[in-house]
Assembly symmetry: C2
Homo-oligomer: 474 residues x 2
């Protein structure tokens, strides 16, 4: 629908008749990309790769091996796994070819009923469900416990806002096929290691245990309302304690149970839970797990992050059954930059029962924002070309080519400006590309083999032959 | 539609009424992925990453900087750029929400007419068109000449077959914003460099020039049939010269022109083109370009690949205007493993005229097949964990944790088996994961601090304290 401030019936008719043509012109003159999606230019790419590489090296150092799953999954693999809201946000891929020939259309056809007939595939919504599908499908080839990492993009048809995109990356590490709490200990260390290497200060890793929450809800006499209580509790940060209680009551939690809730919420010391949970077997089990993880981590010591027990930490996803984790960078207000937990039965949705796993996720896009706001990216990571030969003409260029080849053979990133141009233009190219050294080769240099080298940062000029230059730069 | 070999109306009714439920059961018991798509397990990932890393390092060494574009483009960015066949093969993403509310359905609705109403986005079909869109959209922030590389997946709804998938990777390097032939020279060197580093033998880089072909077609008196002649010529490998000529004649090429074609096709020496193209200005220009590139490359010398002039090389894509390249690995029959060329006006489809560019592409999935068939992957690339501590119980594990931390701090990839289990099980885990050293810590080792270390390859046993072990492995 096009709305114009003035009304001109002839123009309106022209526009309506030529809508597609006009759209083509528009798209020709100013191409755009879909909302919530991003182009990454080179500087951003260098910085993103720096984060990815750091996380990847840590994953591999801890014995996690990479896997990748396809961008598209069969739609039934994804639907029903993320709640109704999630199902709505899954991007669906139209069947190829004459898809309507197999569909029935009538006056009752709705978007929902049509989708079932014309869509068989959908885009990855997270890495966890495809991972569970992968494990079940490949269970005969996998040696358990299986430590895998996965760094891939996911898509959600969410309303875009700051730090929330429709295409973004997740970096997950999971161990599946063991209930050993040493995995939880390791994953906390892994968080600490990565954030230490990235130099992000004031990182808090919050820890809680779903069984402790379960015990609490049991003591509140609201075990059948566990999901509701957890969902309400998860909103504490956003809506405050009064609203949380209101929501719980509206779901059926009794008023007297809320004082038990208060007692728990006032607990900041894990030890104090011991007496509180005395009468809940599940709660005691959870407390044991919690204490083992916290004590082990404390004995080993963390490098820069803090591990903090937080009874209010609930995590919305309902497949968590044990330890739960969430990470915040206190110096930037952006919400959590990581989270995870133990799931005792995730693969059962694909028919493989009793396989316990635990995993954590790094929110790369938010980590990027934190590092950018705090100015934490090292200086030298966006250097692409180290050495550039200026171009003074065909003969000079021909002279430079074998030298360029020698530099590249030595692994020194280098290039020759492709065409003779004004020096100013060539130098500005070098500047924009953060080139560190510009080599000027004219008649004298061609005769002597001694190159004039300009250090672009200090402005210093030096003279070296190619062998010495390579030695200098290697 | 379900077809059964026997007919049972009750069963049929049950099936129809419970279709979704049955599908859920089916999907529960045996999850699958869409056809033409792949899961990559860890061993394959290590090998793929080895190729990606090699290509990436070469790209950066030659001064190319990375960019990435989103998975989805507005559909009008993609349609009309790859021919009718291409348009058909583009994967389309259904609009989110109640998309039908904005569509008009009636008895005349076809798949094609409906698609226009319910689809605004589509998946990347190659890297070239999104790159052109990127350049035009960001032209004010880009310093030209712009040397970029891009390594991303693309999607095509093609019929899957060996070496052809519906999701696959492309690795492209392009220079845009200069017509300097030094770029062509550099890209040939880049091909040679990558295939040398990957150790792929017998690689031939075929080269031709569209202007030379243009000159030939001009002399055949068929300039207005250039596209038809090139498309027919492109099939020479597959259908043979007689069929190629037949096709040309059917398109309107005169019989007497075909003898000129023969003369050209019998030319294997670039020099011989000189007299043939005497009367075509375009042809002579093309020949000059061709000779400059071939001579420059020959002067510099290639490391392992051969550069071969091939007048029959045509390349189907019609945006090429100068030098064209195609790469084959002679030892494996899989078709081309790379290709590229110069395009003088690609960005004009998005409204930016007169920007010449040239680029090459690496077919990663096919390179993988070549390397696998020839056994070229180095031995050590699928090692994830170098050192594993066996687990003999809680106390032993607790003793190992600080040692594990020290190893990891030294950058040595290591892990502790997460739970006490039978030694056989732990050793088989270590074997499957290609672990190089297994450390056994029992009572004696805890007392002395001297660790028992088993070299999994040689079977040798040694005894070292942690400091010496780290020295040994660093």
């Amino acid at each position: 629908m096009i709305c114009l401030k003035f009304f001109d019936s002839k123009l309106m008719k022209f526009i309506n008749n030529n809508l597609r043509y006009l759209q083509t012109i528009m798209s020709t003159t100013k191409p755009t990309i879909p909302k919530g999606m991003r182009d990454f230019g080179s500087q951003v790419m260098f910085r993103r790769n720096y984060i990815f590489e750091t996380v990847k090296r840590a994953f591999e150092c801890y014995g996690y091996a990479p896997i990748e799953t396809p961008t598209m999954e069969n739609i039934q693999t994804l639907t029903g796994k993320y709640g109704d809201e999630g199902d709505r946000l899954i991007f669906k891929v139209l069947n190829s070819g004459d898809y309507l020939s197999k569909a029935t259309l009538d006056e009752n056809t709705t978007s929902k009923s049509l989708t079932k007939q014309i869509v068989e595939k959908a885009l990855r919504y997270d890495l966890t469900v495809p991972f569970a599908r992968f494990v079940v499908q490949n269970r005969n080839d996998i040696t358990f416990p299986f430590k895998r990492y996965q760094m891939q993009n996911v898509w959600r048809a969410d309303r875009p806002q700051k730090g929330r995109y429709r295409e973004f990356y997740q970096c997950d590490a999971d161990v599946i096929g063991t209930d050993s709490l040493l995995c939880e200990v390791e994953l906390v260390q892994l968080y600490d290691d990565v954030f230490t290497k990235l130099n992000i200060p004031n990182v808090d890793i919050y820890i809680n245990n779903r069984k402790v929450l379960s015990g609490m809800v049991e003591l509140m006499g609201a075990s059948d309302l566990f999901d509701d209580v957890v969902i309400a509790l998860d909103k504490l940060d956003k809506i405050g304690i009064d609203k949380v209680k209101e929501e719980m009551e509206s779901k059926g939690v009794k008023k007297e149970a809320l004082s038990i809730l208060d007692t728990f919420l006032n607990t900041t010391n894990v030890g104090d839970l011991s007496s509180l949970l005395e009468n809940s077997a599940t709660g005691k089990k959870g407390l044991e797990e919690l204490q083992f993880v916290i004590n082990s981590v404390n004995n080993l010591g963390l490098q820069s992050a803090n591990l903090i027990f937080d009874i209010t930490l609930a995590r919305g996803l309902n497949y968590y059954t044990g330890c739960i984790l969430e990470v915040k960078a206190n110096d930037v207000a952006i919400g959590s930059i990581g989270g995870g937990g133990r799931y005792d039965d995730l693969t059962s949705i694909f028919g493989l029962k009793d396989v316990s796993g635990v995993g954590i996720s790094f929110g790369i896009d938010r980590i990027y924002i934190v590092m950018e706001e705090l100015g934490l990216f090292p200086d030298n990571i966006d250097v692409s070309t180290k050495v550039m030969f200026a171009n003074f003409g065909e003969q000079e260029a021909a002279f430079c080519l074998p030298l360029l080849k020698q530099l590249r053979s030595a692994g020194i990133s280098s290039e020759l400006y492709p065409k003779k141009s004004k020096m100013k233009k060539q130098m500005s190219y070098a500047n924009n590309k953060c080139v560190q050294f510009v080599i000027m080769v004219g008649e004298d240099e061609m005769e002597s083999g001694i190159l004039s080298i300009k250090n672009m940062e200090s402005g210093e000029q030096s003279n070296l032959n190619i062998t010495d230059l390579i030695k200098e730069l290697s």
